[in-house]
Amino acid sequence: MNLGNEPPSLDWHATTDSTSFDVIANIMVGLTSYGDDLAIEPCLASSWDILDGGSRYVFHLRDDIYWSDGKPVTAFDFQDSWRRLVDPATGASYAYMLYDVENGLKINNGEIGDPSMLGAHALDERTFEVRLAKPVAYFLSLTAVAPTFPVRRDVIEKHGDRWTEPENIVTNGPFLLDAWQHEYKIELKANPRFFSGAPELSRVKMFMVPEQSTAFLLYENNELDYVDNRSFSTSDVERYARSPEYRNFPLLRCSYIAFNVQKAPFTDARVRRAFAMAIDKTVFPRILRRRERPLTSWIPEGLTGYAPDSGPPFDPAAAGRLLDQAGFKDRSKFPRVELLYPNREDAKLVVESVQAQLKANLGVSIELTNQEWKVYLARRKKDPTPLFRGAWGADYPDPETFMNLFTSVNGNNHTRWHNKLYDSLVSRAAGEQDEKRRAELYRRADRLLCRQEAPLIPAYLATQNVMVKPWAGGITFNALDVQYFRNAYVRAPGAKGGAN
């Protein structure tokens, strides 16, 4: 397969990069794991108890789980890992995943100096207890993602920064890190000691071919058995769309156009709603041509609280009337506002379409401003333009990861839109244990966000496009864009006993 780029790190506390997680997900496992439909399944923990109204979790570990050096995986390895994750000295980006655990935030921001005060303790070798600061409905989802996987403290202490090199690293997953030629190739080999049995593939080769067309040529030349978006140009998607080797599925990654609600004329919710109703989302898949899914609500399909009608319908006539009411009957009086986007081809196509649609459907002209990636990010953070493009990918499969984004306290909410009702709905939903009531709370919040207040216009859901050779199969993909080779196989004619 092709990773596209060098994984920035294989330390599951240090990295945030999806390339790293593609490797880590195959060499490590945690307390729980995701099933095909992203449901939580037991993994290293065979069972767990949810106590005290959802604020205390007790995990019971299996007794046949081992590290690659033969030592058993114990609850103490989890305790070490979680402490290391919140320890400010680690500088972990994903430390916030444990902010809901007792003292998690305070340890990470330095208010409490001792990481052992974290509300996560090994009661004995097989029992791991977690105390939460408040009940959190999505907590189990966090135990299936890489930053919460156990670590071997002794290994990290012994080798320092080099503990992730193949000769030092100690892991517990279905594959072992066999070789790592930086910027070029990672080789995994089957772990004979894996608790549910060694995987069928004896070897997985992960190349780092940055250029899409080169990677695709390697696939066509049978040198790669499997490729995804990273190796797949849009024209190749179209060329192979009918091939039995081709597959497409949506990811939990939403793109949107947002307003800075502190800048005129978007201080007026009617103007924002008018814009939201003047954009036909079904256009985006047609111009992006990777079978993206139009997005009419902020919670995407497949997650609790999803309702396609949360956002307003496409209705240019009603949008025009709203804009009239807001005092812009004479469209030439509408200020020329700026829409900021990064210099990526997909973003460019989307904002150009938004510009054209606003002109055609509302008679409003907007200006497009293109910036280099980091400059765009810095600008959006410091002084957002009246309109800007954004995207958000889920860390874990729960509406919380999307809905929290637009709360007043979230550092990624660049719209400067603050709404007390929205904040309270989202915060209540996060702690709600009853799935039905929780869905209802999120639906209300989503409607408030997309239909009534409209600080953003959801645009589309990105997709993953993959090609798998006829002789290979069993690769599991999920909407979080992680790929598992645990059940993968390669059969004749290319039977090499390994996959590229």
């Binding site: 330390d11 030629q181 190349f207 071919v209 040198e223 990010l377 990624n412």
Partner: protein, 306 residues
Amino acid sequence: MLVLVFKRILTAIPVLWIVASLTFVLVRVVPGGPFDDERNLPKEIIANLEAKYHLDRPVSEQYVLYLERLCRGDLGVSYKYVNRTVNDILADAFPVSCKLGLLGLALAVVAGVPLGALAAVRRGTFLDYLSMFTSTAGISVPTFVIGALLIYVFGIWLKVLPVALWETPYHMVLPAVTLAFGPTAYLARLTRASVLETLEKDWVRTARTKGLSGFATIVKHVLRNALVPVVTVLGPLAAILVTGSFVVEYIYAIPGMGRFFITAVMNRDYDLIMGTTLLFAILLIFTNMLVDITYQILDPRMRVEG
């Protein structure tokens, strides 16, 4: 000659200091920082990260720390590749680029110089036009087009060479040829112009009238003098080639260091940007020194200065 080497090393120190300082300032002037991403990190986490890399200190203090580390030969750490130091990264990537670059350079010299000399001697003939047409094409066609063309012809159509990757010596052929294409063309044009100029010189006519054969005149008298400008450009050319080409490494998936000139800047990976820039500066100084030494061998008059 030893004096020259010694002098060059002494002057290199202030040059490197200026390069290091300029880069240090420039990377910090550009908007956006190493930890900016689509998802903004909580301010607590940014603070932890900045503390870890000393980016929370005043810039003047960072500068002093940086120079101190440089003096110890420590180029710092990568913010993007968290478990690796810049020294590690360059130690892995430079040998690959160097190998490919030297191969490319050798190809360019072996093909470019004779091609140019031949064109000059056979000036105005079909051979001249052919070689100049080829070299104009070599200069004007971008590397990625040549690369794609070579991959298509030799990898896909004839299936005699691998499409990409870095496994066996065969894998080096297409990237080396792609890399050598532009420099070959450049050297050919330069050699032709220089040989033409030299051919007009009085002493060439003298050599001829004294009865020296055409071939001997060309090789012994004309080429030797005509090569001075060629050698001059070989210095910077060598430095550029051995530090890798972004395009060639990108299209052939070669784990060299050329990509860091681009990606390190995109990632605002400060120490890596400074590390690659410094390595390039060192190589440039070194190859220019080699050029000066070659001058002295080619033209004894240049030895006076010592």
